[in-house]
Symmetry: C2
Subunit: 269 residues, 2 copies
C-alpha cells in the first residue's frame, strides 16, 4: 500500500438494472442490464477525459488510466482521488502539478480496443523498454487459472455487455477481478490496483475475456505481467507486440482448450 | 454518389495472416490472424487521430470518422481521400479549410466502445435532434436479416478478433458489410459509405456483432437508421438512448432467438 495513504472515496456502484424485454414470441422476459455512465477525470483541476464506465471501481479506473497514459509518473505523487457521481466527475490532486501535460495530451492515438481507444504520448515508441521474462507454464497452470475464475464473471453471466479482466497467480489464485463495459477500463482498473497496492506483475497471469489487440498487449506489458491469457483471439499486431516484449500469449482459452501464440519455449506440455 | 466525384484511393488490404500456434497438447495448429495497423488521418494537413484498423475499407473509415466526429459537415466539402500505407496515413483535402477544428478537438469524450473510444464535440447534447421513426417489424424481418448475413462475417469465422457491422434492407438484402478489429471502425466505415453514396437510413436495419453501448446507439441514430439489431447485449445507457431517439433495439439476435429492448409497439409478433 502506498505511504502516505491516498485520500480516496469508495464510490463503486452496483450497476445492474432490471428490465422487461419482449422475446421473439412477444412474451415479456426479465432482463438484467449493465449500467454505463460518464466519469470525467480532472487532474489538478484540469479536465482530461470522459470515460464511460460501469462504475464498479471508479477510483482504481482513474488511477490506472492516469498511469497507463503516463499522465502521473509515481503513485506517491497522488494526494487524493475523489469521485462524485452527482456531477459525474473524479477529482485527482497530485503533489506536483503535472508540468508537461499539454504536450502529452497533444498526441492522441485512437486504438483498436473498440477500434477507437485513446493512448496519449509516445507509448508505442517505448515498447523496447517493456520486455518481460515469461515463466515456464504447463496446461495445468492454464487450467488452474481458468478454474479459479469460474466464480467471477458475474455481471457478464447476469447482464452481458461487459468484459472481465483478472490478475492471478500461477496457481490460480485471483488477486483482483474487474468487469466494465469496455475491456480497456477493466485493464486500467487492475493497473490502478497494482499501482496502489505496489503489486509487481512478476510471476502473475493476466486474464481477459476480450480480444488481444495491440493496445491490450501493450497495457499488459506496461504492467510487466509476463503471461497473458484470453478467452478470445488475437490480432497479428497483438502477437507482434507479445513477440517484441516477450510476453507469453495464450488465446482462445475456454474449457479444456487453448492456443499458445507466443512463448512456445516456455510451454511445458 | 457524390458529385463532383471525390478523388479516392482504393487501398483496402487483405488483412489475413497465417500463423502456427501450439494447442493444449503441444501440437502445431494453423491459425489465421487478423491484421491490425495504424492509420493516421490528416485533414487539410492537420493531424487528427491515429486509428488502429484491419485496413479493409480505409477510405470509407476515414470519411465516416470525420462525419461522425462532426469534423467535416458535408460530403460535398471533400475533394480527396488518399491512403498511403507506406506512411500509414490518409490525407483528406476539403474545399474549405475547417475553421473551428481546434474547438472541436478540444473536448474529448472517451467512450465505452472498448471502454475508451473517442467522440469529439457535444454529440451527447444534440441527441434530441436525432429522433427517428421505427418501422413496424415482425420476427420474419429479423430472421430475414440474420439469414441474409449468413454468408458474411468471413473474417470473424476465419480469424476472429474482429467485429462485423452491416446495413440491410427490411427484406434482408445486405447493402454493405464491414469487419474491423474494433466495432466502432466498422460502424464508421458504413457511415462513410452512406455519406458517399447518399444512402438514407430510412427503412434500413443496422446489424452489429458488438454490444449496444451508448456510443453505438448514438452512431446509429446519427445515421438515422431506425432499427438496430445486435448479436450481443446492451447497456442500460444504450437502451436509454434508443428510448430517447426512438430507435427500435433488438439484442441477442442469434439463430431463432432475439430480445426486443425498445420499440415494443412496432413489433408484430
Amino acid at each position: 500500500m502506498v505511504n502516505p495513504p491516498i485520500v480516496m472515496t469508495n464510490a463503486g456502484i452496483d450497476a445492474l438494472y432490471s428490465f422487461q424485454a419482449l422475446d421473439e414470441h412477444g412474451d415479456y422476459r426479465d432482463i438484467a442490464l449493465t449500467g454505463e455512465r460518464p466519469l470525467t477525470i480532472y487532474l489538478d483541476k484540469r479536465e482530461i477525459v470522459t470515460l464511460m464506465t460501469m462504475g464498479a471501481q471508479p477510483e482504481l479506473l482513474t488511477l490506472g488510466y492516469l498511469r497507463n497514459q503516463g499522465l502521473v509518473a509515481e503513485i506517491e505523487d497522488v494526494i487524493a482521488v475523489q469521485v462524485d457521481w452527482g456531477v459525474e466527475a473524479v477529482a485527482v490532486t497530485t503533489r506536483q502539478q503535472v508540468s508537461n501535460i499539454d504536450a502529452k495530451l497533444a498526441k492522441r492515438t485512437v486504438t483498436s480496443g473498440c477500434g477507437q481507444g485513446t493512448m496519449f504520448g509516445d507509448v508505442m515508441a517505448s515498447l523496447a523498454q517493456l520486455s518481460v521474462t515469461c515463466p515456464s507454464f504447463s496446461s495445468d497452470v492454464i487450467y488452474q487459472v481458468l478454474s479459479g475464475l469460474q466464480d467471477y464473471n458475474q455481471m457478464y453471466k447476469t447482464a452481458g455487455a461487459v468484459h472481465g479482466c483478472a490478475l492471478c497467480s500461477m496457481d490460480g489464485k485471483v488477486d483482483i477481478f474487474v468487469e466494465d463495459v469496455g475491456r480497456h477500463n477493466a485493464v486500467d482498473a487492475i493497473s490502478g490496483w497494482m499501482w496502489l497496492e505496489k503489486v509487481s506483475g512478476k510471476n502473475k497471469v493476466f486474464y481477459t475475456t476480450g480480444r488481444l489487440t495491440s493496445e491490450m498487449v501493450i497495457k499488459v506489458a506496461q504492467m510487466a505481467v509476463p503471461l497473458l491469457l484470453s478467452r478470445s483471439g488475437a490480432t497479428e499486431m497483438g502477437l507482434q507486440i507479445a513477440q517484441q516484449t516477450g510476453i507469453g500469449l495464450v488465446a482462445r482459452a475456454k474449457g479444456k482448450h487453448f492456443l499458445v501464440f507466443n512463448g512456445f519455449e516456455y510451454f511445458l506440455k
